[in-house]
């Protein structure tokens, strides 16, 4: 049976071109980059080069790139590291209700255990954040604002540039109003989790107006276990771990050399192919969305129809539960994902879908199909061949009837 992988938002396959450049560092080039001999320098040079490549793409200095173990660590380092190092400046944080758990739970931890306060900005029914709402949540003691660039579940793309420039203006006006305090304070700084966006959106720091940015290897056809935190020069972070001097002491421990080399190559390829892939995947995305909504009754698209990642399709099928549909699709060789409680370890339905203002049943019945470089029109055809009858089968055994105001246009 042909396998159709439509879960690229969970992880992407490793690009063979990436594997190729990684292989030497899993073999012969095994030195410790910190060692003071030729074997070590080979490995150290590879990291240096990878750092240059990433810095070039982001348009930043290479010493502003911190390699980490992935998106979760980058988010944790950005938030915990900054909050702890700058608590004397204030103890208030601003974020949104539908961030990735790596951001949300980190901030909740600071609230619960370390005496911080947080404001969670809501999103609208389309899953978009209003920049003005973010700004109005900012207080004198706000030290960090964190808003994701694109949502991992519903793919909505957030106005990061606008939020960034509003925050800059706010800081500027404080400086003019009160030069004494304004000159001393650099807060709040702006962090964005760009894990989902990295393959599809431009990442130039200068135009994004961000101070910190999280990237993740396995979302961009790179290796698992490697990520990046961009951290603007001068920003002080308290490290999460101790015992070395790697990554300027911000993230110590012997480097994942092969992973770092692979990450840089993956980011390079992703940026090169972005335009072509975005166009191609957007067409496939819109094809799948319109065919599902047209052929299968009682369905709704979650998230804005156009301000979304080119590869994200998230649809709620009313009156059925997502895990059951996921497993029926699995039996057909189609791999997707659901916001149902039943597949999550916490047994809670998706906080992202609930944030759109819909009831539990709509979240339980949500399915995410995330397309990728390998996705073709034939794949979409195949999905549409099997999906309607599977939905019908599950609806036949379901006693639930979701109120039509949540799915009728």
């Amino acid at each position: 049976m042909r396998e159709i992988y439509l879960d690229h938002a969970a992880t992407t396959p490793l690009d063979p071109r990436v594997l190729e450049v990684m292989l030497p560092y899993l073999g012969n080039v095994y030195g410790n980059p910190s060692s003071f001999h030729t074997k070590g320098k080979e490995a150290g040079d590879a990291i240096l080069e990878a750092r240059e490549v990433v810095a070039n793409i982001l348009g930043c200095r290479s010493d502003e790139i911190i390699f980490t173990s992935g998106g979760t660590e980058s988010d944790n380092l950005a938030i915990l590291g900054y909050a702890r190092a700058n608590a004397s400046q204030g103890k208030h944080l601003v974020t949104t209700v539908f961030e990735h758990p790596a951001v949300l739970e980190t901030i909740r931890h600071l609230e619960k255990k370390e005496g911080f306060e947080a404001t969670y900005v809501p999103v609208d029914a389309d899953g978009l954040v209003d920049p003005e709402a973010v700004l109005s949540a900012v207080r004198e003691d706000t030290i960090l604002v964190s808003v994701m660039m694109a949502n991992n579940e519903i793919g909505t793309v957030q106005p990061i540039e606008e939020i960034g420039s509003l925050l800059r203006k706010w800081k500027m006006s404080r400086l003019l109003r009160d030069p004494a305090t304004g000159g001393r304070k650099s807060t709040p700084i702006f962090h964005t989790d760009a894990c989902q966006a990295a393959g599809a959106l431009p990442l130039q720091i200068e135009s994004l107006h961000v101070d910190m940015m999280t990237l993740n290897g396995p979302k961009i056809y790179g290796p698992k276990g490697v990520g990046v935190l961009y951290r603007k020069r001068g920003i002080k972070l308290q490290p999460l771990q101790f015992g070395g001097a790697q990554e300027s002491g911000q993230r110590v421990g012997t480097e994942n050399v092969a992973g770092i080399v692979g990450f840089a190559r993956a980011l390079e390829i992703a940026q090169e192919e972005m335009k072509k892939e975005n166009e191609r995947q957007t067409q496939l995305r819109d094809e799948l969305i319109s065919r599902v909504l047209k052929t299968i009754p009682k369905t709704r698209l979650n998230g804005h129809p156009t301000k979304r990642l080119p590869n994200n399709v998230n649809i709620s099928f009313m009156d059925l539960e997502g895990e059951a549909l996921l497993l029926y699709l699995d039996a057909e060789g189609i791999y997707a994902s659901t916001g149902s409680a039943c597949t999550s370890a916490s047994l809670d339905p998706s906080h992202v879908i609930l944030a759109l203002g819909v009831p539990f049943e709509v979240a339980h019945g949500s399915m995410r199909f995330s397309l990728g470089r390998s996705t073709t029109y034939e794949d979409i055809d195949r999905v549409m061949d099997v999906l309607p009858s599977l939905v019908e089968k599950l609806r036949a055994i379901s006693p639930v009837r979701v109120d039509e105001k949540y799915w009728k246009n």
Binding site: L320, A324, A341, C342, T343, L347, P359, H364, S398, P399
Partner: protein, 225 residues
């Protein structure tokens, strides 16, 4: 409650198919019932075809189950048992399995049917992943609800058994016994108890009562903190 008894949990981790070649989330028996559910009601119930109905759960907690039952008034055996569910793979499979258990071999007597425990259903399914066991096996509760309904309709009010456990969350029908059992199986916080029972998921009003019970049972079995 006999708290020295061996605790029952689901199978550790996921389940491997019988040929051991490919792991799947459920056993082959679960898979069979999931892909080919038995006895589900595929059209609106015909009035008169059934003489009892039962219900448990709500879509808010992820599972809703309704059952329709026909009992022979002379033998008090279950002649027909149909169901509809909004639920995950193991909810569908465990309901389907229960419907088979109560109707096979000429139908189970109401007396025996009342004694079916989630553990019995899981045993027939060959195991369920641990995290699925508590939340998705609901059919025994719906079955007891239907048995009471049968006695109510047939004017045998004296045979209605009110569950001795107290229902704490009317939405998920989680009882104080369920919470006690969850604590005994190692759940210490509200989050951990919810992971096992779904108590209060989708019904935040009852959270204080649940937290109080967790404290009570923790102190009862494990001493004060």
């Amino acid at each position: 409650m006999d708290y020295k008894a061996k605790t029952t949990t689901g199978t550790k981790g996921d389940v491997v198919s019988h040929d051991k070649k490919q792991s799947w989330f459920y056993t082959d028996t679960v898979k069979g019932h999931f892909f080919h559910p038995q006895n589900f009601l595929d059209e609106d119930p015909d009035e008169g075809a059934f003489n009892a109905i039962g219900k448990v759960g709500s879509p808010a907690c992820g599972d809703e189950l309704r059952v329709w039952m026909r009992v022979d008034p002379v033998t008090e055996r279950i002649m027909d048992f149909k169901w509809k569910t909004f639920g995950c793979g193991s909810a569908i499979a465990s309901t389907s399995m229960t419907s088979v258990m109560v109707t096979e071999k000429g139908g189970m007597s109401l007396h025996d049917a009342r004694k079916i425990k989630p553990q019995d259903i899981m045993a027939r399914l060959g195991g369920l992943p641990a995290r699925k066991f508590h939340c998705s096996v609901l059919c025994d509760k719906a079955l007891r609800d239907a048995i009471n309904d049968y006695y109510r309709r047939s004017n045998h009010v004296e045979k209605i058994v009110i569950e001795s456990a107290r229902i704490i969350d009317p939405v998920s029908k989680v009882t104080d016994k369920d919470i006690e059992e969850a604590v005994l199986e190692g759940a210490r916080t509200l989050e951990e108890v919810q992971r096992k029972t779904k108590a209060g998921v989708g019904n935040k009003d009852v959270l204080p009562a649940i937290e109080e019970l967790i404290r009570f049972y923790r102190e009862k079995y494990f001493g004060a903190d």
